[in-house]
Structures are given as C-alpha cells and as structure tokens.
C-alpha cells in the first residue's frame, strides 16, 4: 500500500497544476498578509480561500486525476493487489498531496503571521476540506464512467456545497421565519463541511457576538469541548463515508 501511495504522491507532486496551485496559494497568502493592515483582516481573506478555492481545487483536481489514471488503475487491478488497497492508496496519495500543497502554500504562512488558535483552526480546517473534497471526488469519479460527466458532477457538487446548500438554507430560514431556527440550524450545518468549517473558524475569531442570538446558540454548541469534538467527528465522517462508499463501488466496478 505504501508503495502505491509513494508512486501516486511522487506522480502528483511532479504535476504542473499542483505546483501552480501551491505557488498560487503561497503568493496569495503572502500578499494578503502583507497588504492587509491587520492580521485579523488577513485571516478573514484567508477564510475565503479556505472555504472556496481549496474545495474547488481539491474536488476538480482529484476527479481529473482519477479519470486520467484509469489506465494506471487498470494496470494495478490486473496485478495481485486488493482493489481496496489500490483505491485507498490513490485516495491517500491524492489527499496527502493536496494537504501538503495547502500546508506549504497557505498553512505555514497563516501560522507565521497569525500563530493563534484561530490561525491553527484555519489551517486544520483547510487540511480537512482538502481531504474531504478529494474523498467526495473519489465518489463522483467512481460513479460516473464518462470523464466529462464526472468532472461536471464534481463542479456541481462543489457548487452545491459552497453555494446551493446555503441558498437552500436561506430559503428554509425564510419559509420558517416564524419558528426558532437556531438550534435546527446547528444540525443543518453538519450536513455541509464547508459551512461547518466556516462556523468553527468564525467562532474562534470572536465575531460570534456579532451574530447575535444565533451566534450565542452556536457558541453554546461549537464553543464547548464536546461541540468541537462532535464537529471534528462529523468532518471525519465526511471523509470516511464518501471514501467507504467509493471503495464499495470500486470493488464492483468493471474496468
């Protein structure tokens, strides 16, 4: 298993797009922190990068990589290797290199300029989102045989998690504006890793007070040790479930 991970990671790290992604993150985060007058404002800009660019890059790159490795996968499957091993190695390689790229491009910069719990939270959720969205990409890629369709699905999924889901939430909030929606919203936010990460970071940034009663309810849940533990367990589930499902599909897939 480690062998395959090693080959996948070396292959990806040599990939020009991956290098460009790392450089892009590096330039962006450095310029954000040196241009903004306060580090806390820099963190807010980093928040957008972590919540928008990281998932987009992770899901699209992973999907394309899986499709482009179809032959490699075929080659490996004809070898005496467990399918599960092959697929998990691919995932580990992808998630690992995306995380490395994020850490090298953004995580380290954040921790240098803002070595606080907030900075740490941004870095950790960034890594989580990298892994989660490559997991989702694995599932998208294994379900659709057609490459164009698969990449389309990946983009749609990203759009769903970063935009449509929140649109739906907005719609629900207006439909049920007569009811106290704060507590149900905690539950709803668990269904979107991007929302969950955003709330976790915002609560660490101490702007929860601004969110008024909503913020207070959220702080009561996400601010406690149990709440943070539950959130990270849910984030882990967001990795385990798509990967597990994709392994099952891959095991029965015709190549």
């Amino acid at each position: 298993m480690q062998k395959i991970i090693k080959y996948v990671i070396t292959d990806i790290l040599r990939n020009k797009i991956m290098l460009a992604y790392t450089a892009f993150l590096l330039i962006l985060s450095f310029s954000i922190f040196s241009l903004e007058d306060s580090p806390s404002k820099g963190l807010l800009s980093m928040l957008n990068i972590v919540l928008i660019i990281v998932p987009l890059m992770s899901i699209i790159f992973s999907t394309i990589y899986i499709y482009n490795s179809a032959e490699f996968i075929e080659l490996l499957v004809s070898q005496p290797l467990r399918r599960k091993t092959i697929w998990l190695s691919l995932f580990a390689g992808l998630a690992g290199s995306l995380s490395i790229a994020f850490l090298a491009g953004a995580g380290i910069v954040v921790l240098i300029y803002e070595p606080s719990i907030t900075g740490l939270m941004i870095t950790v959720t960034g890594v989580f989102l990298s892994v989660i969205f490559s997991a989702i990409a694995m599932l998208a890629a294994v379900t659709t045989r057609d490459k164009a369709k698969g990449i389309g699905t990946a983009i749609l999924l990203w759009l769903y998690f970063s935009l449509l889901f929140d649109g739906l939430v907005l719609f629900l909030l207006f439909q049920f504006s007569d009811y106290p929606m704060e507590k149900p919203m905690i539950l709803v936010s668990l269904f979107n890793p991007i929302d969950l990460s955003r709330i976790l970071i915002l609560l660490k940034m101490d702007i929860s007070a601004m969110m008024g009663y909503t913020g207070a309810i959220f702080k009561d849940f996400f601010g406690t040790g149990t709440g943070i533990l539950i959130s990270f367990i849910v984030l882990l589930l967001w990795i385990v479930l798509p990967v597990g499902l994709s392994v099952r599909k891959f095991n029965n897939k015709d190549l």
């Binding site: 007058d37 306060s38 404002k41 807010l44 928040l47 957008n48 919540l51 928008i52 970063s162 935009l163 929140d166 649109g167 939430v169 907005l170 909030l173 207006f174 504006s177 929606m181 704060e182 919203m185 936010s189 991007i194 929302d195 955003r198 709330i199 915002l202 101490d206 702007i207 007070a209 601004m210 969110m211 008024g212 009663y213 909503t214 913020g215 207070a216 959220f218």
Partner: protein, 409 residues
C-alpha cells in the same frame, strides 16, 4: 445667655473655622465624635487608620478630610457616609464594606437633598452603590476610584448614581465592576467629564430622562452592554471613547428616544454595534471614527432626521444596518473604506454615491438566524449583485458625496 452663645457662635463662624483632628493620638478617637463636635465651616481631619463608624451622618456643612486614605468600614450593614447638609466636602477616604440591601439603596457616600457637596479623591471598594446623589444640586464628584466585584444585576449597585439632581459635575472618576458605571435618572444641566468606566456588568453609563447634559472625553470600555442613553433630549456627547463593548447585546451607545442631541468626535472601536439608534430624532453625528465594529451604526426605522456627516468608517463588518427604508436620515461627506467609486474631477469626493446598507445586513436584520450564513460565499455574492443592481436596499439611502480619503480625526 442664649443670645450670648448665639453671638459667640456667629463670631466664631465668621472669624475662623476650627480644625478637629481624629486619630489615635488626637483629641477625637472616632469620626462621629468629631463630627458631632464640629460646627458649620469646621474641618475634621482624619488620620490613617480603620474606623468603624456605623452610619456616619453629616448634617453640618463641614470639610471631612482624610490623610493617607483612612478607612471607614461599614461592616456590611450600614451606609458609610450620609450627607444631609449643604456644602459638605468629603476628601481622601477609603470606604469599604458598605451594607447590601434589597430594600434600601445603601451607598458608600449618599447625598440627600443637598447643595454644593464635594466628593473628591476617595477610594471606594466593593460598595453596593458607590456615590449616590438624591436631589443633589451643584455637587462635584471628582477623582474618585470605585471598584466592585459585581456578579449579577440583582445583587449589585451602580458606581455613581444620580437621581433627580441638577448641575452635577462628575469628573475624572474611575469606575469598574459595578452594575452601571454611572447612572443618571432625571438629572439635568450636568456634565460628565474625563471619567473612565470599564468592566461594569451592565452599562458603562446609563442615562435616562436626563435633559441638557453633556458627557465629554470619557472612556467606556468593555462594559456588559456598553452605554445606554434613553428618553432624553439635548444630550451632548463629545470626544468619548467607546471600546470593546463586545457581546450578544452590547452597544457602543444605545440611543433610545433621544432628541436634539449631538454626537461628535467620538471614537468607536471593536463594538458589536457602535451606535444603535431607536426612536432618535434630530441627532447630529459628526466627525466620529467607527473602526472595527460589527455594525458601525444601526438605525431603526423609527429614527428621523439623523444626520451622519464627516465620519470615518473603517474596517467595520457592516457600516449601516437598518430595518426600514431610512429615507428620513441623511448621510453626507463620510469616508467609507468599502467605497469602490472614483473621483474624476479630483475634488476629494467620489463621483458616484455610496450605498452603505448591504443586502445581507438587511436580511439578517429581519431574520436573525440568517447570521449563520455570515461570511459565506452566497451572501457575499448577494451583496455584490445588489451593489450592481440595487433592488431591495433602500433607493435613497446613500451618501452622495463620499470622501476619497479618511478625515484626519
């Protein structure tokens, strides 16, 4: 004989005042005894030490002066000093262990129906109420330090509490840990100047039914709910700092039913809402700096003729929040750091108007749970779209002459 005594007394008063000393090696061992012996115009000097005077009542216009802050301890049962005469001065004491009661408002120093009382240079620790003026007129409360460790609103009193008073001067006091730092109710023609009010559990300054007062150059920091100014008119607020009033229902200033007032040259920094105005009319907000607040100014629809002029809006999450159409208020020549317009004729004013209300802040105002989408992609997208094609934000709510550069404030 009686006449003789009277004449003697008059001569005595008119010619020279006596000095009565209290202390271990002094003629008087207790302050009560010295005060009882004193006549109008005398000075009672108290040396360093701890005195248990129960409730010290001062019914004569005397000067009570402490050397090196002698301690007056009320054993948690009494009011330390009750002033029941005009022209009393209390200077340089340390007052502690004031009684706590749910029926009577015990205070470290309480002024009852008196004029020209001066309370200066005292230290008041852990009092229920600190300095309390009831029907006080023309009193000076200056350079006192009040600190308490209030835990909840029910079991705590205010730092400086004025009720139905007039022409009060509250100057350079430091107040912390009380329920309200400074409390004004039915107080007129008074000035609150250079005080520092912080870490109070409710308001740094609580101000009600008090007309024609000014508060100038005070610092209100980190109070539970900031500063509340309510049901008053003719209030002048100049050069104050409102900082870090950060919390669920915290405001820099809460304005409620305020008319004909001026808010100028103040600094608002890191407040959840710097100014929250409800039912405020004819208010001029000029040359203030709003920096790093959640909302710089929240104006409810019940306000009218509020003018915001020549203010700096810097790094606020939302500049203006409102729940209505807000056309009755005016914005002019402010600097908004979020302004993205241009200035072709180089007159220092942007050529296109700035709309300070974002769509998202309006939605969040109507439906607070929407705040969970704070800083999400969809809300920033909504705001950007709204900026290009305004549809829901009030059409006339705009600054027609936004400044290109911040004012030097």
């Amino acid at each position: 004989m009686k006449i003789l005594t009277l004449i003697f007394c008059c001569c005595y008063l008119g010619s020279f005042a006596r000095i009565l000393k209290v202390g271990r090696q002094q003629p008087y061992a207790s302050v009560t005894a010295a005060v009882a012996a004193a006549d109008n115009g005398d000075t009672v000097i108290v040396e360093k030490g701890v005195y248990f005077e129960k409730n010290l009542v001062i019914g004569k216009s005397i000067v009570l002066k402490g050397i090196d802050h002698p301690v007056l301890d009320a054993e948690k049962k009494y009011e330390n000093i009750s002033v029941r005469s005009n022209g009393v001065t209390i200077d340089g004491f340390l007052l502690q262990h004031t009684g706590v009661s749910s029926i009577v408002d015990f205070a470290a120093i309480k002024i009852y129906n008196s004029r020209n009382v001066t309370v200066i240079n005292n230290i008041i620790n852990d009092a229920f109420f600190g300095i309390y003026s009831q029907y006080g007129i023309h009193c000076l409360i200056k350079n006192n330090t009040l600190s308490a460790k209030a835990k909840n609103e029910q079991e705590s009193g205010n730092g400086i509490h004025c009720w139905k008073s007039d022409s009060m001067q509250i100057i350079a006091n430091t107040i912390s840990g009380h329920r309200d730092g400074i409390y004004f109710e039915f107080v007129t023609h008074s000035v609150i100047w250079r005080n520092n009010s912080f870490h109070n559990i409710r308001y740094g300054l609580h101000f009600m039914f008090s007309n024609e007062d000014a508060y100038i150059s005070n610092i209100f920091e980190n109070n539970g709910a900031g500063v509340a100014v309510m049901f008053s008119k003719g209030v002048k607020m100049f050069n104050n700092y409102f900082k870090e009033n950060w919390g669920d229902a915290a405001y820099g200033i809460l304005l409620k039913e305020i008319n004909d007032s001026y808010i100028e040259n103040n600094h608002f920094e890191k407040n959840t809402s710097a100014i929250y105005a409800e039912g405020a009319n004819r208010i001029l907000m000029k040359k203030n700096v709003f920096k790093n607040n959640g909302w710089a100014v929240k104006i409810q629809a019940s306000c009218s003729e509020v003018t915001l002029e020549e203010n700096n809006f810097l790094e606020n999450t939302f500049d203006i929040g409102t729940n209505g159409s807000l056309v009755l208020n005016r914005f002019n020549k402010n600097y908004w750091d979020k302004y993205e317009g241009y200035d072709l004729n180089k007159d220092g004013e942007g050529d296109i108007p700035y709309r300070p209300v974002s769509l998202y802040s309006m939605i969040a105002e109507k439906n607070p749970p929407v705040m969970i989408l704070f800083r999400s992609f969809i809300t920033s997208l909504m705001d950007k779209t709204e900026k290009v094609i305004p549809s829901l934000t009030p059409e006339n709510l705009k600054d027609d002459h936004p400044l290109m550069k911040p004012l030097p404030l």
